[in-house]
Subunit: 420 residues, 2 copies
């Protein structure tokens, strides 16, 4: 056969303006220093693989392929698998009821997404124009900012304390000072936040809900960790308080497994049809096979038996980290400027800590890695000026023994830098 | 527990400008008329579920969950599963070699996507600004236009004949007359196109490849059906002729199953990193479990044994449709204006037909449905003025008996309308 010449003329790729704003994850770059065998990692954002219900997945795969392979493997509806949408709606209704709220979620409002990350992408596509003002907590979940960025928003950080966003700061941020342009939404992660582990209090939720409704400010409520509470469930979702003013995002990644890439969006009638069209354009639909697997696993209340085992595991890991921290940093209460300080997350996967005065987490990291432990510096999680002393510690993947060893290594690194 | 009042204040949802351009699929709306039990459908775009290798999927699921469940169910790399990326690269190399071309695909250039639909979404995000000129064939795949639309391009239709896009029309369309703005890319589906079933000839590919390189016009080459040839493989891909000037999109949906939602993009160094960042922002990564399932099924050359069975099935179905058409429309050669006319696709799933003069496929559809058969009118597949006489007939899902029955019903409907 003839072999036509390979064409080597210069090609005319012209990137979209938004491409200049898309960048490799800062954290991924920082963490390259930690990719060394034998390092105890508090840096990960991964759930513990011990929590994956492998036997149940095996049984579900076999059943789904036996019962209706033609449907499970075929193209499917963009909205998602009907029975799964019904389970999502029912679970949310039950959870809200147990928190004392009536939230009637219509399965028709549920859109199954390819991980809740895709929910964020669809929200941005439908609600964000180039230059649109959007509000985030301080600090905030970086993956959300990464999902919003391609739509070229102006991301405005709203001052936040241990209970969530500050109400006075929110009022000031909701409308741009110069142009009078209203923010398109406030993005919040109220339960066991990534990165801080903090939980928005009931009082703050009530205030935020009222204030957002008064301002006409839509809320995007992201809740990947809400089921992972340790002693008591978190307060009811913001969306349950004002369903027409909120979009709610949930995930199966932390209660079942991330590798199936399934999450969901609950949206009011004002935006659902557009989210659905954006979904259809983005990937037609999320894998029907995976949706049936998860529906099969979840039926008969499996999560009610399974999730408590995750809670118990993560709580014991958190306790181990708190114990190790108290042991290695005894001066945290008496001399907070000379010691590491930290919070006590009531659920989830992360603990938030702060280094002694004048110490930077980014600068400390290579020294910590030399001692055998990795963490994520906190500054990149802020949409504006980050606090360089902060860091995020994940307690879910290392063993209890490794947690003690890792905290000892962290203490040694800090001591050494203080002496330097 | 206290039940806080449900907030009912009006909410301030403001949709992005692009949302106004996102609409429900025209075809989906048209096809609502066909949703009636007992209708023989030539309207579908679905592969035949008879071709799904169910037993192989069962074995693969079990093996993947037995061998390394912790990795298969965990978060994974945005680029995709390494062994699958290597198989994709190797398959493309082998296919190009059998067509006489040397195409060294580096696995590092392969990005696994959530269906090839997501590849189109990522391409638009990375290459299209609001108002950017992009070129498509006439007619073109509607799902691509749907994927590009949220980035607000100006979609320009390039006149095309049975061999593909017209070169003179392409030269005129490549640069906007008024502004001198160069088109960002030409989107082409060269093999057994959806909707027309046509294939771009070797001569046209050579000409297009040379001309696009001369113009500095990037090509987006979509190839979901290329493996489904009937008598001989199609000519080598455009991308194999100029890898730096093309992005290639492929899919596992037509050779394995759509319900796992996996496809891939092969992109040059100039754009790969940005596509990867867009992918990470869109859904972090495609389901790792599914990627391992497909890699497991594909190893040891399964596709070399499996795909020929799909080709044989679809060819027999195409032949049945050609036979039925020849039988019911004997005047197609002698009096093309008085009869239905059609092409002879060399592979894929679709046949393209044209109604007698002054007859509209949209108008005919409800009458055809009354006779018991459905099809898709062709006009919506054109980015500009569509030919109202055209229609798309899928031959892959009905049985041979149903194909004969459906074509008879179509002929009856046309005869009745001609007499009316």
């Amino acid at each position: 056969m003839n072999n036509p010449p390979l064409i080597t003329a210069p090609s005319g790729w012209q990137l979209a303006r938004r491409a200049a704003r898309m960048n490799p994850s800062v954290i991924r770059e920082i963490l390259k220093v930690t990719e060394r065998p034998g390092i105890i990692s508090f840096a990960g954002g991964l759930p513990s693989s011990k929590t994956f219900p492998v036997a149940e997945f095996e049984a579900a795969c076999a059943k789904v392929l036996r019962d209706d392979p033609a449907a499970a493997l075929q193209y499917a509806a963009s909205e998602g698998f009907g029975p799964l949408r019904e389970m999502v709606a029912e679970n949310l209704r039950v959870q809200a009821a147990s928190a004392g709220l009536t939230w009637q979620v219509d399965p028709a409002q549920v859109l199954i997404t390819t991980g809740s990350q895709q929910g964020l992408d669809l929200v941005a596509k439908v609600l964000v124009d180039a230059g649109s003002r959007i509000l985030v907590e301080s600090p905030t979940y970086l993956g959300a900012v990464m999902a919003f960025t391609p739509m070229e928003p102006e991301v405005v950080s709203v001052a936040s304390d241990d209970d969530g966003v500050d109400m006075e700061a929110l009022r000031q941020a909701a409308v741009a000072a110069g142009t009078g342009e209203a923010a398109r939404f406030l993005y919040v992660l109220p339960n066991f936040q990534n990165p801080t582990g903090r939980t928005m209090s009931e009082a703050r939720r009530a205030a935020l809900s009222t204030e957002a409704a008064r301002l006409g400010l839509p809320l995007i409520e992201d809740n990947p960790y809400g089921d992972l509470w340790f002693d008591a469930p978190p307060p009811a979702p913001l969306t349950a308080r004002n369903p027409d003013g909120c979009i709610y995002l949930g995930s199966f990644s932390k209660v079942l497994a991330p590798g199936l890439r399934l999450g969901f969006v609950v949206a009011p009638k004002a935006v659902y049809p557009k989210l659905l069209q954006a979904k259809q354009a983005a990937d037609l639909h999320s894998p029907g096979f995976n949706q049936r697997m998860i529906a099969e696993v979840m039926k008969d209340g499996f999560l009610d038996r399974h999730v408590p085992t995750i809670r118990a595991l993560y709580k014991s890991q958190r306790d181990a980290m708190l114990e190790a921290l108290a042991q290695h940093f005894p001066a945290s209460n008496s001399q907070p400027d000379q010691s590491l300080t930290w919070n006590t997350p009531a659920g989830g996967m992360f603990l938030w800590a702060r280094l002694p005065k004048d110490m930077s987490a980014v600068d400390l990291l290579p020294f910590a890695v030399d001692k055998g432990v990795a963490f994520v510096p906190g500054a990149p999680f802020y949409a504006d000026h980050g606090d360089p002393r902060t860091l995020r510690l994940s307690f879910v993947t290392p063993s209890v023994a490794e947690i003690h060893q890792g905290v000892a290594a962290l203490a040694a690194a800090i001591k050494e830098r203080q002496a330097a």
